[in-house]
Amino acid sequence: MVSTASPTVYVIDDDQAVRESLQWLIESVGLNVQTYENANALLQECEEIRSGCLVVDIRLPGMSGLDLQDRLQAEGCHLPVIIITGHGDVPVAIRAMKAGAFDFIEKPFSDQVLLDRIREALKEDENRRISSARAAEIEAKRKLLTPREVEVMDLVVRGRLNKQIAAELGLSHKTIEVHRAHVMDKMQAQSLAELVRMAVVLEQEEESAAVAPKLN
């Protein structure tokens, strides 16, 4: 379900001049901009955030940029975050990257760099939205499989031969062939290769959901 709403750049900076000038700059390339003085102000509107990206000053009073990033991910908001750092804050920026930030920009930055990064982030967000929509589609099909069929599919996409699967599950070769045909049918897979791709998409989605908490 890719949102059709136009993406928004959410700017969070406690310095009013910086905040307003960023808005002035980003709007000059035709993007929607929302500005917030601090992280809490943004979190209050978190529900409505659908697509776009965040531009966050790493030094925010109260909740820091890093903390905000964690909070958003915990709440299932996966918008890409661009961290703006001051001079000498590179170590903090690297931590942010490891925690899943999309990119960081060091002040002072050229307008083009910022705008490029924003565009890339928006593209990334769009991509992620698309892949996430596809994963949801595949997951829906997989939900139709019986537990035995799920077992068979897992082994198939790992490249096991039918007779290996039969031995592993203690079933007859014939029975495995029947299960396999049901899997292909229910998953609407035209080939084994397509089934494997579907499995990879699911796996990636699971991983991305699991990664952030693990790194926290």
Binding site: E20, S21, W24, I26, G86, H87, F109, D111
Partner: protein
Amino acid sequence: MNQRDNPTAEPSGDRLAALQARVEQLEKELAANLSAQQELREAGDLLSRHLDNMPLGVLEWDSEFRLVRWSGTAEQIFGWKAEEVCGKKYGEWRFVHDDDLDDVNEIARRLLTGVEQSNISNNRNYRRDNSVVFCQWCNSVLLDEEGRLVSILSHVQDMSRLRHVQNSLHELNRALQREAAERRRAEAALASANERMHFLLAATPVVIYSCSVEGERNATFVSNNIEQVFGYRAEQVISTPGFWMQHIHPEDRQRAADSIPPEAGDEPRVNEYRFRCHSDEYRWVRDVVRRVHASEDGADELVGYCLDIQEQKQVEQQLRLVQSAIDQVDESVVITDAVVDRPGPHIIYANPAFYRVTGYTPQEVIGRSPRILQGPATSRAILRRVRASLMAGHSLREEAINYRKDGSIYHVEWQIAPVRNEAGEIVNWVSIQRDITHAKRQEEEANRRDAEMAHAARLSTMGEMASGIAHELNQPLAAIANYVHGCQQRLRSGRISPEELSTVLERVVGQAERSGEIIRRMRNFVRKREPQREAADVNDLVHNVVGLLQPEARRRGVQIDLELTDDPAVLRLDTIQIEQVIVNLLQNSFDAIASNEPGDRRVRIRTVTEPDAVRIEVSDNGPGLKPQELDRIFDPFYTTKSEGMGVGLNISESIIHSHNGKLHATNNPDRGTTFVAILFRQMASNPV
């Protein structure tokens, strides 16, 4: 005077027998009468003879006070013969002494008028040769049967010789009485003198003696009180040959022996020597000795008295010690009388250091007022305080600028204290003045060093703040870049109106000014300059500092709250130094709350105006200071942090001190610490 009896005959009657008897009777009476008349005549002659021969002069006056009898003795007494004066009336010749005339007239009047029938008069009379004779007169009057005055009889005695004897006796008597009184007085005086002498001898510490001149000066007399004074019995001293000399300290003995008057009657010699008492203790003795001629054999004798002057000697030594100490100290010591009324006390003593320092001579100073040391640069306020102290009788310590005789100035630390007598009355003032010009110069030097150190500390602080300030500077620069790029983008696509452009350019200018302000504060803070005082509002300084430290506060997640007084908090101070203090206190708070949770790091700056001071309080909500940290927090190089030199608070304290203020730290009741800097409106009189 004669008295005659005249009998009367009675007439005869009828009876013859009776008549006969009567005749016989009459005849007998007649015979007796005749016989009596004869006897009477004889007696009268005898009386006259006796009267002429008796030692009393006899005078008889008739009723008219005319002299009728003048006896031979009267002639002998007065020189006049009877025929010369008889028949003269009283007062007709110069007979009564002029000075006694009134008294004698009165005596006569009393007799003549019958007031008295006899009386006695002691008066002076003139002799025929005009000489004066003392007489005692006894007068009596003779009256007839009718009481009429017949005659006045006076007998007179020459009293001159008796009078002379009497006078001599009186004289002698008086002399005897005088002599007796004199003797009584003398005896009383002698007794009293004796008593006094005994009392004095027993009570005084003066031992009286006499001794021989030659040989070992054996004593011939020593007063008994020697026992109380030196512990020896007088008999012991007298009976032991050479006793006295042997008890004089060996070092003093020869000198004492040599020092006696060479001739009798010479001035007494005064010796002081140590004398061994019965307790074996040597005590200082003053011995005054006179040489006199002795009575019998003609050999001279020494008499004198000794006095124990041990205490006096000690006091003298102590006085000498004090005197030499006062003479030798470097501090000027001046003693004045206690006159408080203008023009104030007079100098009665000054020690050599005073003359050394001031260049005056004693003649120029003694009797004059200590005001001679004052000049235009001497603080009037200090002089007022000095005067107030004098009036109140309090001691006082001040620093002041004094003038030497040549007009050059020197700094003194000045201490004045009252000197009181036993009754507690102030009798003098003693003033001790220490020349602290050198110390003052050192202090100024130290102040310069402090200023340099403070500057170095500011540079160091600025270094610590550099990244924060760089960030702070980046903010307006980034904003400017963003605005400008935004404009470029719009200009390229032609989507901008001149009004929009104008609005944004105004914002750009604002941000450029903002960056300029940051640089100004920074440059001002690290500026090196001589310490100077100017009137400034403490709130402005707080704003400057917060402007400098805001980025650092943001970086460290610290929220700074300001609670600044609305009253003008204007003081004379060194703005940079006080800003430095506020920076140090703020940074200290930042460090103190670094361990707090993000979002729980708060620092509050308060300014409070008080009637005589302005307080700057910097509070944090950190863990607070431990007691031992509170004690040492202002020590140099004391730090609880891993980074930093630990000089910030020390320098802050020095700065506040140099402003005559106070800086202290207390833990808050709930949590955290508050640093309080108190700056008094009345600053130090001599600016650093």
